[in-house]
Symmetry: C2
Subunit: 402 residues, 2 copies
């Protein structure tokens, strides 16, 4: 793109949506780059994302020590606080008014699909209001469901957690098949199966766990599920099943929806989790003892299982967002572009925020096997470099009987 | 103890009960020591604990490579397979018959309370049958509920997982209080609160998560729980609660018991998990959105969060068990004895298997605060050295408003 005269002013950075283990690395990348650039004066952080911009809860990131900023590289979750806030009609103009008043010329917003929509609306409002504000989205989501970008910072670390924890936890079921032969592990990922699929990254042989993976991209068939679990237990003595947090049957009914959980204080129906529903189903219908692991937020927050590649890329997209903004780019999200060739490498690119906003990228059919319950080599090749260092290899005894 | 003439013969080693992240380190310690000792000829492993001894599923551990044995130090779960099997009346004699037939003179059994009972019964049967068999128990349980020993190998690593994962996961709730202000984390530990209490090891200030810890040692009062959660949310904006997997109210009724989960194929009532029950309770009664994390077997299997201290101690109790057995000791379990003094150190000792069998050590009152929902400095001082290296410190922004 053409270099433009850098606009002198402050930068405002916000974090939005579900936090990840490396969302702060993007913040640090943006701060480090801002510190380097003459065009950037104040480096401000909006507390709890756009809510902070709307309620003037803005902090001065130049007042933080270099040691604190560096330590954020190893600190999971959003250091500025995050939010899930749907913009009201006059909110974008309010944000632009604030920027004008404070001489904020750069607005960097770290988030997923909804956050890209927020950033897009603010970019539009600034254009309509003739205020020169450069708005750049920085991708972040463990769900890996943003279009255009090769993958999303945050995904690699969550994928590493799920791959490692599945490998570890499955050994427990394998060691005691007569006790609990069936284990179900519930994995996040919204309406995409990217993270559920990552559970397969620890498999070394076809009989290794996980044996069945159920992703939102395919309708869930309870009869097929029960029959596949029973067949696996008959064949191997145990069965480890990965289920995505959102599964629906062919009619579109969400699994767990018909459980009588009552309503919350606002009258919303309480939906039971997928893992709970399916664990009970296995107990009741198959007479096989089943348990579930539901790591919940642990899977996206684990300091111990951060992927180095993911952290480095999260840093880079933050850094590049600041650089692009000063070059005059606006209304774009930074993307990761995988280089061709045998060795994994990524560069950054740009995509229109409008094309990212409220859109989602699902697993392509080529990443799921014919049965729809296993991942193909193409998926494993795609995902393996994202989790960083190779997973630890468990030792297996040869087990020669005397 | 007096040194006795070492009996020439083979050693049989078994693993039993819920696996841990370091149960294999005890196996490796025993193998390494056996390899060193002239009195020990064959080094045998019973597959799936006592079930392997009863069904002659016994492997030759001298046929495994040194590299495989060493790699077991970093491999969670029971490499020999485990079991939960209650001895039938003629089982102990069958095991002794097998030992006599194969010239097994040493029987080492790695496990918790129930496994100590199994080992005790076999030691008794050997004495009654006038077969010289040295039976030694090697302690293992994430529950940390064995009496006499200072603590149990396996606990330190599970405690490290729970402390780190709580610290990490809580940051997610803290970052987005308007989304889900209440998080409940369900922790294992059978009928003791040792592991639930370990969640407090990551706290740096009194207001850090976890804010409330519910352990089995105290009757659970739903009204107190709801009121404490509401008060914490009012004060801090969010609340992270640790709940042990078994909680009962003052009348002894288990939390989750009255949920209509139906029966399994054997007619056993399906009990809902504590976290699920309490999450729904918070949603319904307080109108606060709540979620739960239930790491399940992940908490006892995590390779990434093994405590180095725990692994080293697990290795030592395995090594010492073999050494004690060759010295003529029988009917004992190896214990860990904490040395007095400012620096943490443990030696090994011995306790009667009969005193360990089917007994459990609960949290002493001095380890719980007055409200019964927080851990005292005495507990933290006890537990901190067991989790090994210090936990990573999260960075916190000063957050000076502009």
């Amino acid at each position: 793109m053409a270099m433009q005269q850098a606009e002198q002013g402050h930068v405002l950075i916000g974090q939005s949506g579900g936090p990840t283990a490396v969302i702060n690395a993007s913040l640090v990348g943006a701060i480090h780059e801002a510190q380097r650039l003459d065009a950037v004066q104040g480096i401000y952080g909006a507390l709890n994302g756009i809510e902070g911009a709307l309620h003037r809860r803005i902090i001065d990131l130049r007042r933080e020590s270099a040691a604190t900023i560096d330590a954020l590289l190893h600190t999971p979750s959003a250091a500025l606080g995050s939010c899930r806030y749907k913009l009201q009609p006059d909110d974008p103009a309010r944000v632009v008014d604030l920027c004008r008043e404070l001489n904020i010329r750069y607005f960097l917003y770290i988030g997923g699909n909804d956050s890209a929509d927020t950033a897009h609306q603010i970019a539009q409002a600034a254009a309509e209001m003739h205020y020169e504000l450069r708005v750049i989205g920085i991708p972040k989501t463990i769900d890996n469901d943003l279009p255009i970008t090769d993958h999303c910072p945050g995904y690699g670390s969550a994928a590493r957690f799920i791959a490692a924890a599945t490998q570890d936890s499955a050994r427990c079921t394998e060691a005691m098949p007569s006790h609990y032969p069936v284990k179900i592990i519930e994995v996040m990922g919204r309406y995409a199966g990217w993270l559920a699929g990552a559970a397969a990254l620890g498999k070394r042989t076809p009989d290794d766990a996980p044996h069945l993976i159920y992703v939102p991209e395919r309708p869930f068939d309870p009869a097929q599920f029960l029959s596949a679990v029973r067949a696996t237990v008959r064949r191997l003595g145990y069965c480890v099943v990965i289920v995505a947090e959102h599964l629906a049957d062919a009619s579109g009914k969400q699994i767990g929806e018909d459980q009588a959980q009552g309503k919350d204080a606002f009258g919303h129906t309480l939906v039971e989790g997928v893992a709970q529903t399916l664990t009970r189903m296995v107990n009741k219908e198959l007479g096989l003892r089943a348990r579930f692991d539901k790591p919940g937020d642990m899977q996206r927050m684990s300091t111990a299982l951060i992927s180095r590649t993911d952290r480095e890329e999260a840093y880079q997209v933050g850094r590049m967002a600041m650089r692009y903004a000063v070059r005059g780019v606006t209304g774009k999200m930074v993307t990761l572009v995988r280089a061709a060739g045998p060795r994994y490498a990524c560069e950054t690119g740009l995509a229109d925020l409008a094309a990212i906003a409220n859109s989602q990228k699902l697993l392509p059919p080529a990443y799921l096997d014919a049965a729809g319950t296993g991942m193909t080599p193409a998926f494993l090749e795609y995902a393996r470099p994202l989790i960083g260092d190779p997973l630890p290899q468990h030792a297996m005894l040869r087990g020669e009987l005397i």
